[in-house]
Symmetry: C2
Subunit: 150 residues, 2 copies
Amino acid sequence: MIIDNPYEPKLPRNMSFGWHIAVLGANMSDSLDKELKSIGLSINQWPTLFALWEEDGLTQTELTSRCNTAHYTTTRLLDSLEKMGLVERQPHPTSRRAHLVYLTEKGRNLEEEAVTKARAVNAKFLSSLSKKEQEQVASLILKMTTAPPV
Amino acid sequence: MIIDNPYEPKLPRNMSFGWHIAVLGANMSDSLDKELKSIGLSINQWPTLFALWEEDGLTQTELTSRCNTAHYTTTRLLDSLEKMGLVERQPHPTSRRAHLVYLTEKGRNLEEEAVTKARAVNAKFLSSLSKKEQEQVASLILKMTTAPPV
DNA sequence: TATTGTTATACTCTATAACTATA
DNA sequence: TATAGTTATAGAGTATAACAATA
């Protein structure tokens, strides 16, 4: 069965574009998960830690929104990260019901190693493309994700 | 935190390439799942049905390998598809332990509608790109997925 | 009355492994 | 002994909704 949409070139077994993206995303996630395990982290913690490495002192609600997860997921993720000594919940200066989430020294120190591993995974999956093609695909995917469909 | 890898252009909140692919894949899957629900199907059934639309009369083991799932998953998927009257397990001509899986008339008739929906989802997610860019990203992703990393 | 965050519960998915029947 | 397929069961992940505390 051939999807003859002009935006769908011939694909192996003619699977559709979205299917390829989904499988690729799952494979990249699995690969990063395995890498992160070696430093005691998991893929579930990645978006939260990534957001905090970029900027900490966020409320849980703000973290929830940046990580595109559910609020009850954030609660449990922070529980585990706190138990591991990577983050701390501090009282909010003006609201007594909100918390501010900060990285600990230990949590901050993991950034370099984790990001190195993420880069390696990206490079591995991009390795069949030329440098120019790698830049192209990254910028096209960026364009797709930053201007999402209504 | 900026990933200054040359293959990682500036991304929103500087999330990494793999993360964008994973989120995009999940969003496209969710979107197709919603579309398929309207004709009584789910995203879990998509790869199996897609493979059968391309070629039926496969053994369960062959289906398992083409869909990149687990054998016990195939068993349950086929149970549900059979209950819905979309596929049939037939005895294998030479081996009494293997089955051949065939689409029913009803299952075959769903192809056009389902593929139309999948195309619409792909088009929706690609809509922020020009036609040329759409072709580019599809062919680059194809290149990545057909020459997977070791 | 709405917001921040936690918890209980149920439901879906997936993984492991034991099982049958064949080869 | 290996293969095709099924089933039982446990675990992880996710969703719903109720809840307490605060605004």
